[in-house]
Subunit: 421 residues, 2 copies
Amino acid sequence: MNRITAEIITIGDEILYGQILDTNAKWMSEALDEIGVRTIRRTTIGDNEVDILKAFEEAEARVDIVLITGGLGPTKDDLTKPCLAKYFKCDMELDASALDDVIRIFESKGRELTDINRLQAVLPTACQKVTNAVGSAPGMWFHHEGTVFVSMPGVPYEMKMMMTNHIIPKLQDTFKMPVIYHKIIKTIGIGESWLADIIDGWAEGLPENMSLAYLPSLSQVKLRITAVGEVKEELIKEVADQVELVKPLISQYIFGYDQDTIESVIGSRLKEEGLTVSTAESCSGGYLAHMITSVPGSSAYFIGSVVSYHNDIKIGQLGVKMSTLTEHGAVSEQTVKEMASSIRQKFNTNIGLATSGVAGPGGGSKEKPVGTVWIAYSDGENCVARKLQLGTERTLNIQLSAIHCLNLMRQQLNAKTEIAI
Amino acid sequence: MNRITAEIITIGDEILYGQILDTNAKWMSEALDEIGVRTIRRTTIGDNEVDILKAFEEAEARVDIVLITGGLGPTKDDLTKPCLAKYFKCDMELDASALDDVIRIFESKGRELTDINRLQAVLPTACQKVTNAVGSAPGMWFHHEGTVFVSMPGVPYEMKMMMTNHIIPKLQDTFKMPVIYHKIIKTIGIGESWLADIIDGWAEGLPENMSLAYLPSLSQVKLRITAVGEVKEELIKEVADQVELVKPLISQYIFGYDQDTIESVIGSRLKEEGLTVSTAESCSGGYLAHMITSVPGSSAYFIGSVVSYHNDIKIGQLGVKMSTLTEHGAVSEQTVKEMASSIRQKFNTNIGLATSGVAGPGGGSKEKPVGTVWIAYSDGENCVARKLQLGTERTLNIQLSAIHCLNLMRQQLNAKTEIAI
């Protein structure tokens, strides 16, 4: 089956000049990919009639589906609607159903409808209106000689609602698409090339209808298996079989699947086992607590944290021994272990975590250069510390200290389970 | 003077299919905008020879400068280099100087040079090599019948170093550009349309060579004044005069200029005045401490934090009265004020900040729905609390609680200075 192809056109000077980051195009590509549509080009142009019409023409010659965002506001800078009317050689008229939508939106927000707002309901006659449930600019659907053009607002939340509820189902009705199934295996603590070395043989043996992508991010690598076929249930089973094959090879690095994050996985685990955790943070400066508390419902297992930025707090609040700080320094195995044990006892939790390091750019020395970080885990029975040698960028060092500390907890909890079995 | 125009071409399936977010294009547009080059199109295409060559051809017909990123790795998926050789009808040869660069990079990282790495130094003969100081893929500069093509690696850090140190100066040497000067005024605590109402008269009176852009982000609006002319010093003076005119209208909302962030501005202020701060966080869960400690050198004024997620910690560690929690609840003016005063005393700092709220999605009630947040500031003399009614999204509620709390401290410090004067 030939793949259905798409082009995404983003309209707006503010994107073109770099004032805002275009997150819409990524989201739309992903949404299309999910239903088996292959995006073959993305184009960004400014608020300029000539460029917009040219982009429409070029896109129609290239693809089956043209998704357009932006330029739908009610002011004169916003050219998408008149350009679409010109391109499809039709008039613009007040659409009664679109007006109803606009009135409803304004009523729901308790705002008065002005003449300018009313203009939002004036649409090219060649289009089918697409309801915008959360904003005042309606979407537009054109079906022109085999090519579908869809125009949507640039506000990410409005575009996403419209895509999910209307456009994706309508595209699936309009085009015959293959069934696509993705499964993501999430790993942590191993680089892309080392991972590839281990699973190369397995990857080469994947059936013809499956492909593998490596998607690296901060200390993590996602393995995405994509299967193409006709029956979803069969694909799910086929992919599950492949996952079972690769799992034993890299089990120690796998922390989750699909939408899992390291913090959500650990949260579920703690909740299941009825365990609580507290943190004592120096170089991570609150980011470790932030990662843990970014998970909804984390109050069930996260009790609290002491960010001991100043040594006085390490001593006074965490009871780190003065002699430990003098003999070994704040960035040391001894200090970070005392921090983890102390917070566990003080906050009366099952587990205590701690970080201490040189985040940079200042504060480094020959023995402990910027990027030297100690992390620790304590659960009453065991107290384990690890040294990390990170880079020179402060932001990355803060984030990586926290991520590695969560991973240390994951490993320790796994080790416990293994011993128990 | 005609504006010099540019197109940015990003090459890579992983961007096209939405696996990674293209932050390079935004950065490059901004960098071009800074030197007065107008980006008129951005194009993203996959790892596919036909599409790449077509995109080159289209871009050359449109613009003066074509910036290309991605597709420069040493594997067979990476097609940018062979496509450039084909497009400029030249051979590929080992470039001695590029090889020196590659060898140096590998030596500095203590890694062995393989034959595949050596291929990085094979370049189209029509190009001038551009040194990559931090990675193994060299950049390439082609000057073809008035149009400049620049190919750079897709790794953001490498691209940025190359743009800043080599490409931007080289473009300024090659093309005659107008002088552009930007000044950004940063405001907090007022929406875009309210701001526009206040400064509309001023904005309409701006001289012809200046323009104004509103760039809204999380609870902040940046006002960017752009001036075009021929002599930088004159522009700087003209813009400074305009800033002086608008300042009195919105002074209470202005927290900084250009690269300032709310956390960096507050940091500098605390350092100057020799003040220290500590935080007691409930709903912000460590994010407030994280914002403060994201600033290099923050250990000079940030002493530490207690994240009191569980009420036991509010009572046991922060000394919030049991009766306060019972009578008013954790999310209340009384509790948040006790938290701010208590952390200030306990951590012996000049200022104590506190947050307590319902971040969501759970935990809301009729009286205190999700998004109800109390923030407080205490300095020994004054203890001030504010109530925020935020939205329903957990992540935003966490971030906004912290940002508003920092803004509260900024306002209180300003009020103090005014009284002192």
